[in-house]
Amino acid sequence: MTRVLVTGASGMLGAGVARALARRGAQVRVLQRRPSGLGLDEVLGDVADPGVARSAVRKCDAVVHLAAKVSLVGDEDAFTRVNVDGTRHLITAARDAGASRFVQVSSPSVAHAGAALVGAGAGRADPGRARGPYARSKAAAELLALAADAPGFAVVAIRPHLVWGPGDEQLISRIVGRARAGRLVLIDGGRALIDTTYIDNAVDAIVAGLDHAPDDGVHGQAFVVSNGEPRTVAELLTRISNAAGEPGPARSIAFPAASGLGRLAEAVWRATRRPGEPPMTRFLAEQLATAHWFDQRRTRQALHWRPQVSLDEGFRRLTAHLSG
């Protein structure tokens, strides 16, 4: 493999994938709206712009598509434009450019209808039942990506679950920010078991997806990726807080109260057109109160991949990062 386009390389995961591919000798081009600072061949622009997609994918053998609009709330159309239309344009462009592999980085939420996921497999993406505009748009994107799988154009969807690590602007910094503000609370005691993925493992899994995309049992399929070490929400929030030198959450509220707060906050944010995200949403309350962990056997076997960094090691690295 000589030339790979990585979209969304300004994020922690995209940057990690771009660096990992470059490290092993691939010619990596990155595409995102802001400069990545990676020192790689770079196209700046909106992935949802067909012209941008065409120019970015020129002469590439493979595409790793991470660029997406990620948010708890927002206008459905905006999610559709970036996540669904963007994916469609990129696939068309990649196929036209003669690329042979396409890794669609997706999310386990595309197949999650809200019930507890306990040792679940990678269910079929379902835009009709996925929760929230982000998950719905990612579900539609994954379906159209996998539908494009064809001889000579191997498509695989990788769904890393809750990726975290040093430099994470999403999960970790929000939790730490709340812990510092003393506003970190548990829902129902934080007893739901949840899978997470340390950044390096997610990167490795996406690279493995790229490597094995043409394999039988891989192309045209979706794979959930996690550390395979589900932990309670209480433990995860406490350890993330502790890594930043903050105490863990001391308070807990009942799920109905949290869900009600979420509903209220969403309404207030909508009505007052406040910028940013509300501190609680119904979706978030549900995510924090419901188990979601996954059966990793198929993923590990098909991708010939296993997580190399344990949660314990991950927390050590996070602590070093946050205190250093």
Binding site: A116, G119, A192, T232, F255, T290, D295
Partner: protein, 856 residues
């Protein structure tokens, strides 16, 4: 009404390819069309001819058809819809039993059915299939009957449901004009039958006119001898004696309000060689309530039925035995169970045989001469009361000389004692005793009241009348029963599923006695302190005096140190058999021992604690209470004991390991390990290779005979004479067995199966953990380990994060899988009998619920 046969619409679990319409002539030569389901091998080893009852149809057998449809199946299933029923033709005629038997014969002629054939039938399909079988002996290879009857047992009324349905005016109303009979039948299912399945059962009976056959079928049940079908049914019943050489299987749902256990008993009497499996909890539609019955049925055919091309599996035997391979069957020992009793009565008639301590501190004692006189007197007296060889007697008497005498008297006359203890719980006792179906109940007043409450069958004999019965007896003793006679039906603790009845024959109890005598080097100088109820019975067989301490036998943890010491002093006890729960309380109350008590306990040379694991701390403290004793924690089970033995010293010397050290096999016992697959099932080869974890298999001469009325359970538990214990463990380099838990409690992680006990032991090494249980959450094959502990206070079910991390690190450091979470509880659910076996299955369900968070 007249309507042609037709094919069923698409229905849950039914494949269109199975359905065929077959034409066969009626008795007057009119062609009639049948709907049959037909699937399986083109050249089958055996054909199953399945006959439904009323008001079901061939849909009842869809599970068998699905199994026959599998690629490697070597059998064929033909399930018929009887005329006027299901999707077969509505001829407008009422058909009687004899007609239906004729009809079926004409159909199988039209099908050119060739042998061998096993008939499979349910409900009123039973007599029809048997009638067919009697006329097709050349084809017949076996008969299978599910909840049916061929005869109304004398003295018992017909099922109330049937009687009610037959009342004038009621019959057409419930069977024809409304769907009541159909809805009632599917509602009789013990499991909540899915609406779609219930609808499928009702599908062929949508209109009153299509239900005429149901009414006629009910009307055809001969409740009186004058009924037109009575003679035919009687003939079918009478000719069952011709089937003595035909393998027979009875699959039964004991919760059936129509065909109750009474009818099972009647059928067993007519087919004494039949194999029986009762599915506890299943009702009328036994194959719906217990779908595993279909797999059991096929396993039975493989094991028991001579097939075409002689494809029988090794180990299959003809009728007369139950097809269970027990390997080399031991021979009678020649020394019957009452042998030592007779010898001691002759040699030391005035010596104490049994001393029973009372809570007021006094003791009642019987001498050897008195005990023998009582046993012999009762043997004659109970025979005079109507107890026959081969009868079963439920003995509901607390441990006492009366209990011992009643059991030995039963043995002496060839009756089997059903031995239950309150440790099963009331529900467990009800299931156990009703399942064993006693012919007689000998009980103290509380036992009689219980028997009444639990509606236990059998003639009642009051324990208080035993002395009178013994005295009234005259004449010579009955002949000694053969050594192959059933002696005992004892029960497993029910810690993993309903308690199972375990059958021992005389020679098997004799072997158990001899193994104990040999292994513990029992001599006349010994005396037994029987602090664990079942052991009270073995003293006379061993020829040693026994003392029964004052305690609530139903609650072993009520045994106090002082009560134990008084019992020891009463007989000069040298052997103590007790339970771990009792030991815990003896340790707790040891402060109340006086010098005499301490001296009495210092005479104990072997103190044995069995039935459940004993914490190492308790063993160390036991050493100070029994200073002269070798303290043992042997391994055994209701099915065979003892199997291995170990001293507390050996356990201390062995140190840490994955599991509990239970020692080397005792002489005559072989232990093997059967490795587990990724799903935790013991599918591997048997091995004696050190350190390999798997299910523990044992082979010995003092093994149980089988499980009572649980043919499939016995079959699964038996292989080449080995018994599958359902326990998991490994053998170490010194040939010693380590127990790692129950097979049912194995946790199947992504990295393979793992056993709970080692994880629990490591957890309990932490000073803040009182007790721990390791369970798996999530689907088999990718489960996560969760440890549940007691001894931690706090809010909510989660143990705090620092403790969680320390426990996880401690377990991981021992090379065991890291628990995903650590939960806390005030106590762990344990069984009643031992007060020690943790119900990890229930605990796993609880943990699953907690850790799933908000369940929707």
């Amino acid at each position: 009404m007249v309507a042609p046969a037709r094919l069923p619409p698409p229905l849950l679990g039914l494949q269109a390819s199975w359905s065929r319409l077959i034409e066969a002539p009626d008795d007057d030569g009119t062609p009639r069309t049948w709907h049959v389901l037909d699937a399986g091998a083109a050249e089958p080893d055996v054909t199953l001819l399945c006959v439904h009852g009323n008001p079901t149809w061939s849909y009842l057998w869809r599970g068998l058809l699905a199994r026959a449809g599998q690629a490697d199946a070597r059998f064929r299933v033909i399930a018929v819809d009887q005329l006027e029923m299901g999707f077969s033709e509505r001829t407008g005629r009422s058909r009687r039993l004899a007609d239906r038997i004729d009809d079926l014969g004409r159909l199988t002629d039209a099908l050119a059915l060739s042998g061998p054939v096993v008939t499979v039938a349910h409900d009123w399909g039973g007599p029809i299939s048997l009638g067919w079988a009697q006329r097709h002996r050349a084809l017949l290879a076996g008969v299978v009957l599910c909840n049916t009857a061929v005869h109304q047992p004398a003295g018992a009324p017909a099922p109330a449901v049937i009687r009610a349905a037959r009342l004038p005016g009621v019959l057409p109303l419930v069977t024809e004009r409304t769907r009541a009979f159909i809805a009632g039948t599917t509602a009789l299912s013990g499991r909540r039958m899915g609406a779609e399945t219930a609808a499928a059962f009702a599908a062929p009976y949508a209109s009153a006119r299509r239900r005429a056959g149901i009414r006629a079928f009910v009307a055809d049940i001969p409740l009186r001898t004058s009924h037109p079908s009575a003679a035919c049914l009687d003939e079918v019943a009478a000719r069952l004696s011709d089937f003595a050489d035909v393998p027979a299987l009875l699959l039964w749902g004991p919760g059936d309000p129509v065909f109750s256990d009474l009818y099972l008993r009647d059928l067993r009497a007519r087919l004494p060689h039949a194999d029986v499996h009762r599915y506890e909890g299943a009702r009328h539609l036994v194959t719906e309530d217990a779908p595993q019955a279909l797999d059991d049925l096929l396993a039975w055919i493989r094991a028991r039925v001579p097939l075409a091309r002689d494809q029988r599996v090794a180990g299959a035997e003809g009728p007369g035995t139950d097809g269970i391979d027990r390997g080399q069957r031991g021979l009678p020992t020649g020394r019957r169970l009452w042998h030592e009793l007779e010898r001691r009565a002759a040699e030391s008639p005035e010596g104490a045989a049994i001393v029973s301590m009372r809570t007021d501190g006094r003791a009642s004692q019987v001498t050897w001469a008195e005990l023998l006189a009582l046993v012999d007197g009762l043997a004659g007296g109970l025979a005079a009361e109507g107890i026959r060889p081969g009868d079963r007697v439920s003995v509901l008497i607390p441990p006492s000389p009366a209990l011992v005498a009643a059991i030995y008297a039963c043995w002496r006359i060839g009756a089997a004692a059903i031995v239950t203890d309150a440790g099963l719980g009331v529900r467990g006792m009800r299931r156990a005793i009703r399942g064993a179906h006693p012919d007689h109940v000998i009980a103290v007043p509380a036992g009689l009241a219980l028997a009444r409450t639990l509606r236990i069958p059998g003639r009642r004999i009051r324990a208080g009348d035993l002395p009178r019965i013994a005295r009234a007896s005259s004449g010579p003793l009955p002949d000694q029963p053969p050594a192959d006679t059933e002696a005992v039906i004892a029960f497993t603790s029910g810690a993993t599923g309903p308690a199972k009845g375990v059958v021992y024959r005389h020679w098997q109890v004799e072997r158990t006695r001899d193994v104990i005598a040999r292994h513990y080097q029992v001599t006349e100088a010994d005396a037994l302190i029987a602090a664990f109820a079942p052991w009270a019975v073995l003293g006379p067989a061993l020829g040693i005096a026994s003392a029964i301490p004052a305690m609530d036998v139903t609650r072993p943890r009520t045994l106090r140190a002082s009560a134990l010491a008084r019992a020891a002093a009463a007989v000069g006890g040298t052997l103590l058999w007790s339970s771990p729960a009792a030991l815990a309380n003896v340790i707790r109350t040891q402060g109340e021992l006086d010098d005499a008590g301490r001296a009495a306990l210092a005479r104990v040379r072997i103190a044995m604690f069995a039935g459940a694991p004993v914490p190492s701390g308790a063993l160390a403290r036991a050493a100070s209470i029994f200073p002269a004793a070798s303290i043992r924690t042997p391994y055994g089970m209701t099915e065979a004991l003892p199997l291995t033995d170990v001293t507390s010293q050996e356990i201390a010397d062995a140190g840490r390991g994955n599991g509990v050290l239970v020692g080397a096999p005792i002489a005559g016992v072989e232990v093997g390990i059967c490795s587990l697959d990724a799903q935790g099932d013991p599918t591997g080869e048997r091995t004696a290779q050190p350190m390999a974890s798997g299910e523990i298999l044992v082979r010995c001469d003092h093994l149980r005979d089988g499980y009572d009325a649980l043919w499939a359970t016995t079959h699964r538990a038996s292989a080449d004479g080995w018994h599958r214990t359902g326990d998991v463990g490994h053998i170490d380099a010194k040939g010693r067995l380590w127990l790692e838990g129950r097979l049912a409690h194995v946790i199947t992680t992504e990295d393979g199966p793992c056993t709970p006990v080692g994880i629990e032991q490591r957890a309990m090494e932490l000073d803040w953990v009182e007790a721990a249980a390791a369970v798996g959450v999530g689907p088999p094959g990718c489960q996560q380990v969760v440890v549940v502990v007691t001894g931690v206070s706090g809010r909510g079910p989660l143990v705090d994060v620092p403790r969680t991390l320390s426990l996880r690190a401690h377990v991981e450091a021992a090379g065991l899988p890291a628990p995903a979470a650590v939960l806390r509880r005030d106590d762990l659910p344990v069984d009643i009998r031992h007060n020690a076996k943790v119900d990890r299955t229930a605990l796993a369900r609880w943990a699953d619920r907690i850790l799933a968070g908000v369940a929707r």
